[in-house]
């Protein structure tokens, strides 16, 4: 495109940085640090996201933060964000409850490749709040259960108190539709389950590497070890999917903060096939 063509381009009526207003319709304290927000757009429309996409949440006067959508698009009428209070925006968000107004931009980025996952066995590996984006896909898969093969979920939290979505976890434990395994790094008195980091769950499962896709989301340190475990199971790198966290100010591929080499995580990701990013130093 030449500069002349740019100048001839029509004027868009508005700004890509303009959020739409939305209302919090329900909140739920998930743990000490994480709170769930169920949100409805002011327009009454669906968010229209894919599992694994994110939105920019605006609190006017505080700022914007990129937050993964935690609900499946099969859940209609509203969407859910599960937010850890760590930064300016998220801490302020935690003070809000039902009825409060906030701004939403998005959904942004590439979500999980749901079409490619059809017919496959899926091995979910979620560490800590990595469960937040993964939950959008787990629930999508459960709502379209017949379209997918085996569903295995490995979930690790630091302590039992840091486990999210307790109601869903108790359903998953009982479910005949999935194989659910969990662990905590440090147990408390009540905990009767597995103790150890998430990689200690891998020896407990068997997978058919040819038809299994591993979906791995967790804190930066977890990827290196969890990816290795998936590889040990024989799962090829192009069947290992990760979702990367980065600083994102704009969500639209302009501000530069999320860049890993030539890749803009907010546009090309946050979901990537490991095969595509394994050569990018700084990615994992």
């Amino acid at each position: 495109m030449t500069a002349a063509q740019v100048q001839m381009g029509s004027r868009e009526p508005t700004s890509i940085y303009l959020p739409q207003l939305a209302k919090i319709v329900r909140t739920e304290q998930l743990t000490k640090m994480e709170k769930l927000f169920e949100i409805k757009l002011g327009s009454g429309q669906e968010l229209g996201h894919q599992p694994g996409q994110f939105v920019e949440v605006s609190l006017f006067g505080i700022g914007e933060a990129p937050i993964s959508v935690s609900s499946s698009p099969t859940k209609k009428g509203s969407f859910e964000l599960a937010v850890r209070a760590v930064g300016n925006v998220t801490k302020a968000l935690h003070t809000l409850d039902r009825g409060a107004t906030l701004g939403i931009r998005g959904p942004f980025g590439r979500g999980f490749p749901v079409e490619e996952l059809r017919g496959k066995d899926i091995l979910f590996v979620a560490g800590g709040i990595g469960l937040v984006p993964v939950r959008s896909l787990i629930n999508y898969v459960l709502d379209n259960r017949s379209a997918f093969g085996r569903v295995l979920v490995l979930f690790g939290a630091k302590t039992p108190a840091e486990q999210l979505f307790l109601d869903e976890l108790s359903k998953w434990r009982m479910s005949k539709e999935m194989e659910y395994w969990e662990t905590v790094d440090r147990a408390d008195g009540q905990w009767k389950g597995n103790v150890g980091v998430i990689t200690t769950l891998f020896p407990k499962i068997t997978v058919d590497p040819k038809k299994t896709v591993a979906v791995i989301v967790g804190p930066p340190i977890m990827y290196r070890f969890a990816i290795l475990e998936a590889q040990v199971k024989g799962i090829p790198d192009d069947q290992i999917i990760v979702s990367l966290e980065r600083r994102m100010k704009c969500g639209v591929g302009k501000c530069g903060h999320c860049q890993i080499h030539h890749v803009y995580v907010c546009q090309d990701g946050p979901v990537f096939s490991y095969a595509k990013i394994k050569h990018l130093k700084e990615a994992i």
Binding site: S15, L18, F60, G61, K254, H257, C258, Q267, E282
Partner: protein, 344 residues
Amino acid sequence: MTFRAIEKKNFPPFIDSLIQAMEVVGVREKVEGKYEFAPLEAASQLCLEYDVTLLSPKKFLFPPRETLLKFKTGKSVSCEPVLDSQSLAIIGVHPYDIKAIAQLDRIFADANRDEHYLRKRQDTVIIGVDIKRSSTHAFCRSMNSATVQEGFDLLLTDIGESYVVAVGTNQGQALLEKHAVSRAATKEEIGKRAEIQEKIPYMFSLNTVNTPYEELPKLLADHAESKLFAELAEKCFSCGSCNLVCPTCYCFDVQDDMALNLSEGERFRLWDGCLLDGFAKVATGENFRENRAERIRHRIFRKGKYIYEKYGEHGCVGCGRCASACLPDIANPVEIFNRLKEGK
């Protein structure tokens, strides 16, 4: 392209007429030997025989601090975009800066149109001027930016008694018709212009990148693990001056500013720099480019690889401003590219 000519005596009245009609910025001498793009009140302030300006004219299209939205909080929350722009003429833009602006045009129009930039750009006319003096660190020949064929509305070349004016757009043509006494350039004048332009790249012979333009991405890919980045990092202050003065850097931060009444405010963006310590740091404290060496490598790769792979031209136009601005003198792309090539 059509060529007009403006006699030197008719040139100041042209500029003065523009100043009457619209906001005009041009190159002015800020202090002795240092130039800047600043508003012009009279043609006499314009200096077209400069070497380089401290900052590029990018600052008028992508201001250091730019309001994006205004909002109201409280019982009834609302927000609306701020898409201010006004007719502006920028006079005296060198070819490397014209190339840099054309690149920003592509980037801000690509995929998601950034109206805040593009509206300003659409309302701006660029009157360029061919380079008469090279600055100490400029290496425009190596970056194909010593002369330029597009990206301007008008381009002036000083041929002695007159300026030959290349007309790049209809908008430029209209400005000439309305504000200047001009005539068609003669064959001789057009020939003289071509002769002058042919020599311009050789002004930069002292600063030459030893790798051909198209081969820079491969050079960088081959040396991604070079120890040079760590060596430069030893001296780097992470001050971001190289980003600040770069005509093609466009990374920004976004912040909110609340008015004292605590019921309204604005969201604005401001220039950011990938050399700054917290550039890639997220709220949990994780910093994805914590080491200075990684940040230096990232900047150089943006300048000589990533932008090229996406847009077919480099994110460096060879203006040399980063080399001049860097206190420990480690930012010069010529030196970095050449040292990587020589393996030193």
